[in-house]
Symmetry: C2
Subunit: 326 residues, 2 copies
Amino acid sequence: MGEFELLARLRERLAQPSPRVMVGLGDDAAVTVPGGATATSVDAIIDGVHFRRETAPLASIGRKALAAGLSDLAAMGAEPGEAYVILGVPPDLDEEGCLEVFAGIEELADRTGTSLAGGDVTRAPVLTIAITAVGHAADPESFITRAGAGPDHTVVVTGELGGAAAGLRLLSEPALADRLDAATAADLRARQLEPRPRLAEGRELGLAGARAMIDISDGLGADAGHLGDESGVRVEIDLELAPLQAGVAEVAAAAGEDRLEFAAGEGEDYELLACLPADGVEAARESLAALGCRLTVIGRCAAGEGVLLSGPGNREIQARGFDQLS
Amino acid sequence: MGEFELLARLRERLAQPSPRVMVGLGDDAAVTVPGGATATSVDAIIDGVHFRRETAPLASIGRKALAAGLSDLAAMGAEPGEAYVILGVPPDLDEEGCLEVFAGIEELADRTGTSLAGGDVTRAPVLTIAITAVGHAADPESFITRAGAGPDHTVVVTGELGGAAAGLRLLSEPALADRLDAATAADLRARQLEPRPRLAEGRELGLAGARAMIDISDGLGADAGHLGDESGVRVEIDLELAPLQAGVAEVAAAAGEDRLEFAAGEGEDYELLACLPADGVEAARESLAALGCRLTVIGRCAAGEGVLLSGPGNREIQARGFDQLS
């Protein structure tokens, strides 16, 4: 298999569904007419760092790579637009395998209305996927950054937490699922393997008045810290309020770990953490309910800096460094 | 060293020099207001595939990564705008090393008026740099794609060829430089380590009437083939006309290889190959001369398909497959 042949095959398969993309795959660069403002995010996932080929189907690795990029757009309240893919192909991945990875990317792109506008294929020591995701809005002020939280804002989170961490444990130690029913265990594994970018939820939160937003990729504690740093506020979170995915407590117990650590200390849940004035919470909750997504108040912003994670019995939980290259 | 600390340091160092970039490093995504049309290219360079850390200073690896991305923009005739960087950090590269890589990227970004608008840092098995380069034009028709060549066009190339291939040989076998003067050998090594994107030249070629353009990253033969395929023409190149960089013939002879193969069969010279009507060549040549860049007629387009590379004595040189993942 050669790079050009693979690119030619991909090109055949990739439609050019967007009126915004004038020139797609097959030239030196893709040509688009963005209009308005764009939000651009770059992300890479690498075998052995962000996933393991032994435990993840190739299509789901592709989906996860794109999902992580789209999740950044969700956290901006952006409309997804184009994605660009760099595929690093290890010696033991054949053409069929490359196409499986792309099929996963393509499937999520189709589902989210994202145009695959360009890409590159190269040799690499291990499977590597780098995604550039470009989202759109009418003007730059429509995007929700990390910087707009005020000291009186309410802190909310979409969906449920801890599932990605629990799913990761189940993938490496299947016996931890012994006390779970099959569907719950499958949902946890899927949470790790198949994250869903909260695109519609991000836009609704923006419309409902969210002033600052971030996606939870590094972990609730770390990401709350990023948001607080950018906004110049202290983020106080009561972990007893954090909505845990079904089965997280059981897996944590079976693994001898802290369920709150699963929810707050590990990343990849790809939920959205948002700050908004208290009087906007109810409307936001209703908007998200219409999308089938719960929204939970988990804390508030205060004057100051840093993150306070409080747990059961009001003990303070030290937000760990989380500062590992990942 | 952690990801966040490194990102924070980078952020301190990276100015936000463009009025187009509203939100740069430090949020989920960068926010820009592009206006007009954009050209977007993604590229990765990986240790052991595109460079070797043993033979390349870290700053030059950074510059080369960005240069490859900017060269794609040059081939579109685009104005460089923003670049986004993913740095994959191997276990044996410390923070100082990461900053050296970024210093190289930053240096070339400054020199070319490119804003570093976003990035990501992750662990990786070997040093990996993925670049997303975004260029601009007033409208999509102002970009020069690979698809506009006609069967009566003249084929021109900027600068000189073969230097990157010769430089690569000198880096791995220093003794091959024995018959060269030091400056010539240094120029050849620099050609491999420090490619220059032909940004101003690409814009001038567009203004002078180039109808199709590509940068020579895969090799003259392969890239002429890409251009011919997209334009639906046959590209006929007389390799005796190809401008060789000083010292290329000597290194090829010392290595027992074909100097024309250096010029036509290997990539990374990052010159521009363009097609234009014959009556525009002289004006294009003058425009490029004003930039200090030579422009050489090396062939013509004809009806048909494929690439014909003819060499000394009119023997036909089979365009090699060139179809290796690289």
